[in-house]
């Protein structure tokens, strides 16, 4: 099987991978770059464990081919984790017991990361919508939703604070 050289940006760094035409992007990230935080729960596009952000949009890493990622900007769970400790979303998931076995967790973190990127303080409906394609077998989702609500609440507080104090919008990217 011939291999293709693919150049892309992953978590802010330019990288190149050798992929077979049939290899999924998630598989390539895992096996070529050692980014094993992206999990494979079904490899048929249903569970969401493989969710990553490609060019600003959440995608199922198992449904996209590695060769399609030429020139793309890819963000994985490794890329949204601070160099030490946890991001506010990750911290909230921990506080609210939004994970048990942790296998769905990177996908959840990515789905929520995207949500908070586009909607600084999402409603419960928007939270549900954002994770409706992410299966979790362990938690029953309640802790995940509470975690996201807590982050949203905090963002709202920060924002009203910022508006009165600084008169400008707080960036949500830090979430």
């Amino acid at each position: 099987m011939t291999h293709h050289q693919v150049e892309l940006t992953v978590n802010g760094s330019k990288v190149s991978m050798q992929v077979e035409p049939r290899q999924s992007l998630a598989d390539a990230l895992r096996s070529q770059l050692g980014l094993t935080g992206t999990h494979l729960g079904c490899e048929h596009g249903v569970c969401g464990a493989c969710t990553i952000i490609v060019d600003g949009e959440p995608v199922r890493g198992c449904l996209m081919l590695g060769v399609q990622a030429e020139g793309a900007e890819v963000l994985t769970v490794e890329g949204v984790s601070p160099s030490e400790g946890l991001s506010p979303i990750q911290e909230a998931l921990r506080e609210h017991h939004g994970l048990q076995c942790g296998f769905c967790t990177p996908g959840m973190v990515m789905a929520l990361h995207h949500l908070f990127t586009i909607t600084p303080s999402p409603s419960e409906d928007e939270i549900n919508e954002a994770i409706s394609g992410q299966l979790c077998r362990c938690t029953g989702y309640q802790g995940i939703v509470s975690a996201a609500k807590a982050v949203a609440q905090k963002q709202r507080e920060n924002r009203s604070h910022d508006t009165t104090v600084n008169g400008k919008e707080n960036s949500c990217r830090s979430a």
Binding site: M1, E20, R22, Q23, R30, L35, T36, G37, T38, H39, L40, G41, C42, E43, H44, V46, C47, A49, T76, V77, E78, S81, G85, L86, Q90, L93, R94, E95, H97, L99, Q100, C101, G102, F103, C104, T105, P106, V109, N128, I131, S132, G133, Q134, L135, C136, R137, C138, T139, G140, Y141, Q142, G143, I144, V145
Partner: protein
């Protein structure tokens, strides 16, 4: 941080950062990948297998079939006592001359990549001679049925006959007879299985990453099958993406992958894909009950008479018949019923073999019993809660011996004040609060289920605690962890005795290389048995440390105490030495603690190390729980919406309320899946027709109602020092009954809703039995 503290888990950070290390994240130099070629037929003779073309493919290393395995290879044994001899139904790692279910392993293909394996699989020529498949268990026990095994399709028939059931039936004022069926579904952890085995030929050492749940048992089984010493095999559990009973049992692959690693002398990795998982992992729950329940004029239940047929699938696996066995042993539930009869049949069919799934047998039995009781209450004309109230086992009758047994252990409810917990549950939920019966054409109903959940079963558990000279404690546990939070709760228990923060206590588990014996994780047993082993070992560490300090500093033992990782002298109120300091003193060869010189070598200290094994009490310990739900039903479409769900339970003592709540809510989610969505269906010709996540529906966020919990610590388990009862299986166990009862209540239906899952069609059918204005 002590027992009972609501603290976030210590293991979470690595999972949240994507730094969990699951089996598919592990690789080794020169590793090759394996693929299991599985039967496409439910039942067929294998005439021949020709792998020559596959072997010729570039990158293929081996194609292993049954003829390559040792002639005297035994089948995979049961690890639990069974009713009768199920030996004729055990499974060999590879099909020999006949396949019995779609998905049965026929060959193991090994190549440089999984993709090449899959290409090679296309090239293996197998000549099958199809046989008629046996799919329906009731048909399987008819005299003219085709045989799945020569020993007969009825693998076992056994039961109990307690009290005087016939008399009770004769004298009863109210009698109901109902049939129930519970669909085949299963655990479906989000991570599929996987193994990586490597063999050091020179030293005859086999290392396997990927096993979980019962690694010591699995290691011993493998040692016997390979003819190796037990200590020559090390099984190591990585991070594991859920088990819920199914994952971690000894499956055909658990023999095949190590076997291949030995034969090829290369590390061999096998990562199951989701499609194979559907056909290969133990299925569960498929069973049919016929229940007759009767009561006297006062509404006292006088007897249960039950027939149970369980579909075991094509082979008996490691769990034997434990699922129907638990169902039969505990069927009477939390009620004071002395007349009980059950006729249980275990039946072989050409479907995937079965095993346990969280609340094995209990989910099924609770559904049948509690739905039948609602029918009985309706017949008597009393509130469903009132019927249960009248019949609960009173506190002064504890311990309650049901009179049955399962896996050769008597079924005993060790303790509990069921009536008190029941009233608290009703009150907390507002069972008697008025309910608005209609909203926009939808009907509202309320349902209840009471149950007893046995836990802490199995013979023993063990841990060793080691404290190092820097004051770090490590718990080496014989149990295993697939997401339950053991790294936190076991540390909390040790922390409460040693006074160390949980961050200074490491928990290691699921590794046969770190502790000699281990029981493993099943039947909600880690908090009960593992937790008590930690408690006992931590107490041992404390006592040893105090004794050592007393001798070294010549302070009376009574004046010393252990606080926050340091030993304090009570009289002076100051720390004398740290736990780490004691650990250093107790290191063998340490001059600080040497006895006077001697001409003889002599025994020395063995470190600040204590090993403790705890033997379980025969009946385990039982938690009482009540599930309640409010459900909206659309009688025009059969649509349902669970508005509110509530679980109350008495678990003796909570180790960490955050984790307890998580277990309950997560368990309810699985129960909801089993109630409405999940089903492994087979076509008449024996093909699994729900073999992907696109057709096997698991609950997503929209399927979940708000779940409330009330966790009580009313009655400590008398059989263990911590007083804890297991909580892991309470969540799913009562869901289909509570919801089925709520739907029936909404519709005022007096028939139907006895077949799971409760699909819109079935709800609609029940709705259509009732005349509406």
């Amino acid at each position: 941080m002590t027992i009972g503290a609501r603290i976030p888990r210590v293991e979470d950070e690595r999972f949240l950062r994507g730094e969990g290390r699951y089996v598919a994240d592990i690789a080794m130099p020169f590793m090759v990948e394996a693929y299991v070629l599985r039967s496409p037929y439910p039942h067929a003779h294998i005439r021949s297998i020709d792998a020559s073309e596959a072997l010729a493919l570039d990158g293929v290393e081996a194609v292993i079939t049954a003829s390559d395995l040792p002639d005297d290879l035994p089948p995979i044994p049961c690890r639990i006592p069974t009713h009768g001899d199920l030996g004729p139904y055990l499974q060999y790692p590879l099909a020999r001359d006949r396949v019995r279910y779609v998905g049965e392993p026929i060959a193991l293909i090994i190549a440089k990549s999984r993709a090449v394996c899959e290409d090679a699989a296309e090239l293996v020529e197998i000549d099958f001679d199809p046989l008629p498949p046996v799919v329906d268990p009731e048909a399987a026990i008819k005299p003219d049925a085709a045989l799945v095994h020569e020993a007969g399709n009825l693998a076992g028939r056994w039961g109990f006959d307690l009290g005087a059931v016939d008399d009770a039936l004769k004298n009863a004022t109210y009698v109901v007879s109902e049939k129930f069926s519970i669909q085949r579904h299963t655990a479906m952890p989000l991570e599929t299985r996987g193994l990586i085995a490597s063999y050091d030929v020179g030293r005859n050492l086999l290392d396997i990453h990927g096993p979980t749940k019962v690694v010591h048992t699995n290691r011993n089984v493998l040692a016997a099958m390979l003819g190796m010493g037990e200590a020559e095999i090390r099984m190591v559990e990585p991070d594991v993406g859920g088990s819920f009973g199914a994952r971690g049992e000894f499956y055909p692959e658990d023999y095949l992958i190590p076997f291949a690693a030995i034969r090829l002398r290369k590390p061999v990795r096998w990562i199951e894909d989701r499609i194979e998982h559907f056909a290969a992992i133990n299925h569960s729950r498929e069973s049919a009950f016929e229940v007759t329940a009767c009561a006297d004029a006062e509404g006292m239940i006088t007897a249960f008479d039950v027939r149970l047929v369980t579909d075991m699938g094509a082979f008996i696996r490691t769990h034997g018949d434990v699922v129907p066995s638990h169902a039969a042993a505990s069927f009477p539930g939390p009620y004071r019923v002395r007349n009980y009869r059950i006729d249980a049949m275990t039946v072989m069919t050409n479907k995937t073999p079965t095993g346990t799934y969280r609340a094995p047998g209990m989910f099924e039995a609770n559904f049948a019993r509690e739905r039948a009781l609602d029918r009985l209450a309706a017949k008597i004309g009393i509130d469903p809660a009132e019927l249960r109230r009248r019949n609960l086992i009173p506190a002064d009758m504890m311990p309650w011996h049901v009179g049955t047994e399962s896996v050769k252990r008597p079924t005993i409810f060790d303790s509990g004040n069921f009536p008190h917990v029941f009233e608290r549950a009703l009150e907390a939920y507002g069972w008697d609060a008025p309910i608005e019966r209609e909203a926009d054409g939808w009907l509202r109903g309320r349902g209840i289920c009471a149950l007893v959940e046995p836990s802490g079963l199995g013979p023993f558990e063990g841990v060793r605690i080691e404290v190092d000279q820097h004051g770090y404690a490590t718990i080496f546990s014989g149990s295993s962890n697939q997401g339950q939070g053991h790294e936190t709760v076991l540390a909390q228990i040790a922390s409460s005795i040693l006074g160390l923060p949980v961050e200074k206590i490491r928990v290691r588990h699921g590794d046969t290389g770190i502790i000699t014996f281990g029981g493993g994780t099943y039947a909600s047993r880690t908090a009960v048995l593992g937790g008590n082993a930690v408690h006992s070992a931590a107490v041992g560490i404390r006592d040893k440390a105090l004794k050592t300090a007393s001798a070294k500093f010549d302070i009376p033992l009574e004046e010393l105490s252990l606080r926050e990782g340091e030993i304090w002298h009570g009289g002076k109120n100051e720390p004398v030495i740290s736990l780490g300091g004691i650990a250093r003193m107790l290191m063998p060869g340490n001059p600080e603690f040497l006895k006077p010189p001697s001409d003889m070598n002599m025994p020395d200290n063995d470190g600040l190390v204590v090993t403790s094994y705890i033997r379980g009490v025969p009946g385990g310990t039982s938690a009482f729980a009540v599930h309640m739900a409010d459900v909206l039903v659309d009688p025009r479409t059969g649509d349902t919406r669970v508005e509110n769900y509530f679980v109350a339970c008495d678990i003796g003592r909570q180790l960490n309320p955050l984790i307890v709540e998580g277990q309950l809510i997560g368990g309810v989610a699985q129960g909801i899946g089993g109630t409405f969505l999940e089903e492994l269906t087979y076509s008449e010709d024996g093909q699994l027709t729900t073999g992907t996540f696109a057709d096997y529906m698991m609950p997503n966020v929209y399927n979940m109602p708000p779940v409330g919990t009330l966790v009580l610590e009313e009655t400590k388990a008398p059989g263990n020092v911590l007083g804890v009862k297991g909580v892991g299986e309470i969540g799913p166990s009562g869901v289909p009954a509570a919801i089925g009862n709520a739907i029936a209540d909404a519709l005022k239906a007096t028939s139907g809703l006895n077949i799971l899952p409760l699909t819109p069609e079935r709800v609609l059918a029940a709705a259509s039995t009732v005349e509406r204005p």
